[in-house]
Point group: C2
Chain length 457, copies 2
């Protein structure tokens, strides 16, 4: 344990980096509900999933008892190119806020994908390569996941086919170009490359696409192409497992200086970052070794935790994927077009949903303009230009620090800064020009989507 | 000295970060030639410069005998937010190339400005604040310097007026928006805000601007506004002084593992990065303590070192600034519009020019498509998407490593990776689509610019 002044950035030594991922589910007494086959309502078997996903990833997906999975050396070597990520002490932010709170953030943006997504992309690419596959398919909306996967596939010499929601493809040519730099093929979705794409284009020739449609195309392409599988960047248990590297590094860095956080805050869309960040802390909580306030922050325009229901639902809008039990707004829900950035998923990781259901974590939602106000404030004070997604956590971290200012409490706050906003300047521009909206779905709208949830025993 | 395996990334501890900048000129027996006043051909005095630049920066500019300048604590605190930058061992690149060479790069791109420019921006903003000024003015082309200065001014609560070359302003709205996020006012140049801008617009209403014109506007604005001074991101001695933090960190990281480089490579536009990177190594060379091959890499489309002359010339196209003795193509020279990214300056730092003239360093030029080929190769192998500017150094580092492969020599190569290419995807796209040109100025063109050099005794 070090006793000197805590530096601005705590970096682990390379030798201190985690050698295993932590599987949070192993410490849960009541496990997350299993994925169900929509055809027969029974839990999905490894065999049923094998046509879609890589074998070892399926094993990870279904395993809720093994607490640690060794990180293969090849993946650890790749991690060493951009990890450990720094745990930053936000000295400037604290001073500017005039709060007695101590604020730390785990910054995952210092890699070319611009976010934490690379942590799971490289793992999934590794297992695909190990299985002898030719390539993988995926969908991307804002483009962070697609970029991360392109980088990972390039590293292992795998082919990478990305279906990018057409309006993003057209509005975000830079993201597309980064993926092409890494050798990925990027197809605007819907496309004429798949049956589902053709069908949609026939019915709606002018559609600008949706994430749900892109998922359907990517899955179809994977199952109909020899030597290909489909991969996904959030929601799944395997993704949370890989992302536990965020939390494990965070905890190791805090332990090095004997720091105990009081509050841990993360933004939540599908749950990949939040689930990874909180993993070892939630583990301690589950084992009764420590207690923490854990807060999930979601956009008010897509409030799965705070206004959704805990029920079985389709993972995708196209209803081709298995059913998952989760907090959901209904698989038909699409957030207002005005909503900038990610965190647009209608549901939430089953694991996080179950933990929330058990009362082991809190959730809150924040309005878009409040988020961008926090983002700009943070950028000016701490230097880093945050992604809109990450800024949801910043907003709540600032609010909690201001509460400490009122009460005089010296709480320690840790939040996840998942990425940078370099490709989100259109949204920042809207904010600067006062053209950003705070549209929030009405109760009637949410009820209409909820009414369409699948009936599951 | 550490003896274990060299990690992928060598980070100094916060306590090991440099506490002083190193002034290379102090160790030069023959000093760089002084700036001259174009009105009378005599060396510029501090008094003459005081209306344009901040007082302490003028002192640094003119001092060629003091070897070390203490870095003020406020600047060191800011540095701690994004420094030390990593010295990366390019294990993957070495393996892919199959070279016995050992390759290291100092990566300066992990901050929101996306480059090393922030190292000097924060220093210049600090001295402006200390002098009690209201704000500073500057020009920006590609936008890295403008972004860095916006961040620095935001931190110290200074007003920041940026004149951005009009075509960049229109073609790079994201860079502009990042500057606005940091509270800077960004004006497309030429503008109606200055007399020189009005004059140019009257004569050429459809002009898309030039760096030379933007400099003239920024200087005019500074000298005519109460409490403002002009700041510049390259070329000047003060900038090289601040950027020495790059080289000092690099040397400290190498020393920690007892690594002696054989070759040090940096891209060169005005010289800010190269001068900073090589500073302590060149110092050893000047004092006869060590020898290194030092290579400046410039674009073939703007070849100041390799095809320019060593002569007094104006620092700006508008001829409002002092005369500097340097390798220059003539102040009227503007590289082909096809040339992507920075490194477009017609001249070169006086200090580097004198060192080159004395034969203490080499220079080479590289063609644009060869640069982007190296950039893409590097991105795929090492993960980082490099800026076009930085990729000039990558190109030559790879070439030197391939020479080692032929000869079997285990040379140690260090190069400067100055920044990231997130805002340069238009250029990458041109490269991917085979639309990038390799235009190189003809001897006749260069002779015509050279004929217009000012006559100085």
């Amino acid at each position: 344990m070090k006793t000197e002044k805590i530096p601005y950035k705590i970096y682990l030594e390379e030798t201190e980096m985690p050698k295993s991922w932590y599987n949070l589910r192993a410490d849960m007494q009541k496990k997350p509900a299993p994925l169900l086959n929509p055809a027969n309502g029974k839990p999905m078997t490894a065999q049923e999933l094998a046509g879609v996903f890589c074998d070892e990833l399926i094993a990870q997906e279904l395993d809720d008892t093994t607490p640690y999975f060794e990180i293969p050396e090849e993946i650890r070597d790749f991690y060493k190119m951009y990890r450990p990520s720094p745990l930053v002490r936000a000295y400037c932010l604290e001073e500017k806020l005039g709060t007695p709170a101590k604020i730390y953030y785990k910054f995952e943006g210092n890699n070319t994908s611009g976010s934490h997504k690379l942590n799971s992309a490289i793992a999934q690419a590794y297992y695909a390569k190990k299985q002898g596959l030719k390539g993988v398919t995926t969908e991307t909306g804002a483009g962070q996941w697609g970029t991360a996967l392109s980088m990972a596939c390039s590293y292992f010499g795998l082919d990478c086919k990305v279906y990018m929601v057409k309006c993003s493809y057209e509005q975000k040519p830079f993201r597309r170009e980064v993926m092409r730099t890494y050798g990925a093929s990027v197809t605007p979705s819907p496309s004429m490359e798949t049956e589902v794409g053709k069908k949609i284009l026939l019915e709606h020739p002018d559609t600008t696409g949706s994430l749900g449609c892109a998922i359907s195309e990517a899955v179809e392409k994977a199952v109909t192409s020899e030597g290909y599988r489909y991969v996904l960047g959030s929601v799944l248990n395997q993704v949370l497992l890989h992302q536990s590297v965020i939390g494990l590094e965070t905890k190791a860095a805090l332990d090095k200086y004997n720091i105990k956080p009081d509050i841990i805050i993360g933004c939540a869309g599908g749950g990949s970052n939040l689930g990874g960040l909180i993993a070892p802390f939630m583990g301690e909580k589950l084992r009764g070794e420590a207690d923490y306030r854990i807060i999930a922050v979601e956009p008010a325009s897509c409030p799965s935790f705070t206004r959704g229901v805990y029920a079985y639902d389709f993972c995708d809008t196209g209803m081709v994927c298995p059913l998952a039990k989760m907090y959901t707004l209904g698989s038909g829900f699409i957030p207002s077009a005005n909503h900038a950035g990610g965190l647009r998923y209608h549901g939430m990781s089953s694991t996080l949903s179950e933990l929330y259901h058990q009362g082991l974590m809190e959730a809150t939602s924040v309005k878009q303009t409040d988020v961008f106000e926090a983002a700009e404030y943070f950028a000016r004070v701490e230097g880093i230009l945050p992604a809109p997604e990450s800024s949801h956590a910043i907003r709540v971290a600032i609010d909690e620090a201001l509460k400490c200012k009122e009460t005089g409490e010296e709480k320690t706050i840790v939040f996840g800064l998942t990425g940078t906003g370099y490709f989100d300047m259109v949204a920042y521009e809207k904010f600067h020009e006062g053209k950003m909206s705070d549209y929030i779905p009405t109760d009637e709208e949410l009820a209409a989507y909820r009414a369409k949830l699948p009936k599951v025993e």
